[in-house]
């Protein structure tokens, strides 16, 4: 084995003294403020008491937090949903590549062919870049790799290049994913958890990531594709708009309940609360998936930034629109 050079952590930092001073001043001010705040013996504020007292009679739900999220403060949640949507759209816009694509990961093969055609070979950009590109290609399943690392002897030197993880991880994912998925659906459908659809959407992302990590992108690529996930996400957003606006149309107030209240403790109790929660589940689950896979899929756009024409020299990021043709 070659001697590995010792990694020296070089940690650049700015103006430590100013940072300490600022943090100390803010901390001091906040401490003074915190000491004057009401503590655990203060009476509950009126709005909290109101939420507690209307949950059961008015909404037939035993979950005041969900009642606040989807009922009393439904407008707030509505805004928050679209804040999340805006963030997802922003992330997708920033993470977007120059050419349109079908999947999140491993889609740059078309670009490679084009680059080769116009005579820009990766080797021309220096050895480190070529190595990095090759490592990327292997990581994304377009290089010489096997489907699983099971044939590789234990302790073999070098990075693992298989798409999936070992049989231990795959078996665990196989065991955990259905249980986790069911738990997520339960959280959203029954809403017996603070927030209902929000934690459930995060659980859905967890399931997707488990399968992605355990089995590789190829196993989820039929479902986790921009066109499928984006459509689902906008469907969720549309459902939320419809639920909220129907309250305005039918009951005269935005986010009012227009559905019949089922018996307490059933899946139908709460009127629009479970419907809103389910729509939020779709919206949050797909939104987080889009953001995470957008981030996972980026970082492989090896743009020509060094020898590139000066038009992009002072721009902060890549041009947001795909170029019409090769610029060289």
């Amino acid at each position: 084995m070659k001697d590995i050079p010792e990694v020296v952590e070089h940690e650049p930092s700015h103006r430590r003294a100013v940072g300490v001073l600022m943090a100390a001043v803010v901390g001091g001010l906040l401490t003074v403020a915190m000491l004057a705040l009401p503590r655990e013996n203060a009476p509950l504020p009126g709005i909290a008491r109101y939420a507690m007292s209307v949950a059961l009679p008015k909404w037939h739900t035993t979950e005041p937090v969900s009642e606040v999220v989807y009922g009393t403060r439904g407008f707030d949640t509505f805004g928050e949903t679209f804040l999340l949507l805006a963030a997802v759209v922003g992330t997708m816009t920033i993470a977007r590549r120059r050419e349109p694509r079908q999947g999140f990961i491993g889609e740059e093969l078309a670009g490679w062919r084009e680059q080769r055609r116009i005579g820009e070979s990766p080797a021309a950009e220096g050895d480190t870049e070529a190595e990095a590109r090759q490592a990327d290609a292997w990581e994304q399943g377009s290089g010489p790799q096997s489907a699983t690392p099971d044939e590789t002897p234990l302790g073999a030197p070098g990075p693992e290049r298989a798409a999936a993880m070992t049989v231990v991880v795959r078996a665990s994912v196989r065991a955990i994913a259905p249980v986790l998925l069911m738990a997520g659906l339960y959280l959203a459908a029954w809403g017996y958890s603070p927030g209902g659809g929000f934690p459930a959407g995060a659980v859905l992302l967890g399931v997707v990531l488990f399968v992605y990590v355990g089995y590789g992108y190829r196993r989820v690529e039929r479902v986790i594709r921009p066109d499928v996930v984006e459509t689902l996400e906008l469907f969720g957003a549309l459902a939320i708009v419809a639920i909220e606006v129907l309250g305005l149309v039918l009951k005269g107030s935005f986010s009012a309940n227009f559905l019949p209240l089922g018996p307490v403790g059933t899946i139908r109790s709460g009127g629009i609360l479970p419907a809103f929660s389910d729509a939020e589940f779709i919206e949050v689950g797909t939104g987080l998936t889009l953001a995470v896979f957008g981030l996972l899929g980026m970082g492989h756009d090896w743009s020509r930034d060094q020898g590139e024409p000066a038009e992009r020299g002072s721009a902060g990021t890549d041009p947001p629109f795909p170029k019409s043709g090769p610029s060289t």
Binding site: E11, P12, S13, H14, R15, R16, V18, G19, M22, A23, V26, G27, L30, T31, M34, L37, R39, E40, N41, L44, P45, I47, A48, R49, A51, M52, A55, L56, T62, E63, P64, V65, E67, V69, D76, E80, L83, L84, A86, A87, V88, G90, I94, P194, G195, F198, V284, A291, V292, G294, L295, M298, G299, D301, S303, D305, G313, G316, T317, D318
Partner: protein, 122 residues
């Protein structure tokens, strides 16, 4: 003594602020930002706490209370718990967008050092 939680929240916030102010690595700046967000979650949930209270769940309340009694009795504040949920979602949104921007900065400038990202200077 819930005031201990308050002060822990302040401490977390200040650690995050210090990281944002002094670190030059953009990823560490986002970590500091996340720490500041996390301090607000701790604070919101601590503000919701009441002495001898139970969770704001009206299904089978403890100590043989009825749901109506619990609604008038000692419970944690459900509104602040809702606001904490909102804060978590916003935190995720901010972190996601920041990381996407950082990946683009890293691709463009080939560095994560915020001092070397100078195209906006002057």
């Amino acid at each position: 003594m819930i005031v201990g939680n308050y002060l822990a929240g302040v401490a977390l916030f200040c650690i995050g602020l210090y990281a944002v102010l002094t670190k030059r690595n953009l990823i560490k700046i986002v970590m500091g930002l996340s720490l500041m967000e996390a301090s607000t979650y701790l604070l919101l949930l601590s503000f919701a706490y009441r002495a001898h209270s139970t969770a704001p769940v009206l299904l089978n309340p403890p100590n043989g209370q009825s749901a109506e009694q619990l609604a008038k009795g000692q419970v944690a504040d459900p509104v602040l718990q809702n606001i904490c949920l909102t804060a978590i979602v916003i935190g995720v949104a901010v972190t996601g967008v920041s990381l996407a921007v950082i990946v683009r900065i890293a691709q463009h400038y080939r560095t994560l050092d915020s001092d070397r990202v100078r195209a906006m200077r002057g």
